[in-house]
């Protein structure tokens, strides 16, 4: 499988498929590049060159003991694009990957056409009270509760316990849905337990609240109405970014909010296309994505 040995010593696994303008996609914490390939990439790779990659510590990329701040990961992405000769691209990110995409737009605006941010939290916008909860993974316990995996009160801050409980349950999305995850998850547990990722993910770096309004590249925000934990970030970003559009997607009764690339990939694909073609003519396309969506963008 293709791996890029970056000048900073980290090897990243990536996939680059299709022909056309470049779109880069960054997944969220604990995930891997597969989230884009189950539905979204196949709907786009006849018209775009799609670059997906496993963030460091994820999938088949190197598991490093540290270096997981958004600043570090945005630099990883720049080095990966340098390695592949991708000069400028549309950048799409989900959750933690959306934070990375926002930092990338802040640090390297000349490398960005548009940014599509799906449920970013943004370190500077994490309120103090939830900051401690986040570090202790309380948010994960809440998500697991909704997935039907109850976590006892005395284990809500026990990351390894929660991960092992989660992995006992069948896979939630994709071609292996409802099949028990038989393979070990030691790598994911090592990521949370043996690295600085949970602390690093909240590192603000240079992108303070005041600096957010200096990001001039076009940004499109996509949030689920049901993503209550992320709502503050949505409100702030949609008001403070100078060149922003935004969409609040309805959350279906059976959906797990926040996971829209997996829960409603056709809608997300439509949102990506709307965002990256909004200042130009849409590329010729045969995808029915737009016809399937019931949502309409609400431009801020």
């Amino acid at each position: 499988m293709p791996k890029a040995e970056l000048p900073n010593g980290t090897a990243l696994h990536y996939e680059q498929v299709g022909t056309g303008p470049d779109i880069v996609m960054a997944h969220g914490m604990g995930g891997n590049l597969a989230i884009w390939h189950l539905k979204i990439a196949p709907m786009l790779w006849d018209r775009y060159r799609i670059l997906t990659y496993d963030l460091r510590g994820h999938g088949y990329s190197d598991l490093t003991p540290d270096g997981y701040t958004c600043t570090n990961l945005a630099t990883d992405l720049r080095l990966l694009m340098d390695h592949l000769g991708v000069e400028r691209a549309d950048i799409v990110g989900h959750s933690f990957g959306a934070d990375v995409a926002l930092y990338f737009a802040y640090l390297y605006p000349e490398r960005v056409k548009h940014v599509v941010l799906i449920e970013p939290m943004v370190p500077a916008l994490v309120p103090t009270i939830t900051r401690a909860q986040f570090e202790r993974a309380d948010w994960a316990a809440t998500v697991l509760d909704k997935m039907g995996i109850p976590i006892p009160d005395d284990r809500r801050y026990d990351t390894e316990y929660m991960l092992r409980e989660a992995m006992k349950h069948p896979i939630k999305w994709g071609p292996l849905k409802d099949i028990p995850a038989r393979w070990t998850t030691d790598r994911i547990i090592a990521l949370y337990s043996n690295t600085t990722i949970l602390r690093d993910a909240l590192d603000i770096g240079a992108l303070t609240i005041d600096q957010i309004e200096t990001i001039r590249v076009p940004v499109h925000l996509v949030y689920d109405r049901g993503s209550t934990l992320w709502r503050q970030a949505y409100r702030h970003l949609s008001r403070s970014l100078p060149n922003v559009t935004s969409t609040l997607l309805p959350t279906g009764s059976k959906e797990i909010a926040h996971f829209s690339p997996l829960e409603k990939p056709e809608v997300i694909t439509e949102q990506i296309l709307l965002a990256i073609t909004r200042d130009g003519k849409a590329r010729q396309r045969s995808s029915p994505a737009g016809k399937r969506s019931r949502t309409r963008p609400r431009f801020a």
Partner: protein, 102 residues
Amino acid sequence: MPSADHVFQSVLHAIESLSGDWEIARPLTPETQLIGDLAIKSLDLVILASSMVKRYGPIPFDQLYARMESAPPKERDLTIAEYVEFVLQNAPRRTPATNAQS
């Protein structure tokens, strides 16, 4: 239009290149099951699909995944022969030269 043998060899090569992260207990044959025999992960499935798209052009693997997902979990599987057949049926008739990477 690729031949069945060409696609089969491409699939074998792609699976073997993945096997650094998981062991293949016995020789791969057309009857080898991706889930039952290889315990393939979603990530490996999409890497395998990417290698096919690079070689043969855009293939709607999302349709294959949807078909797999619709099968009852206990019956769900896919042999290498079935995978090859899907590629043969869905690959563009003319392989784009720019995509013909290994």
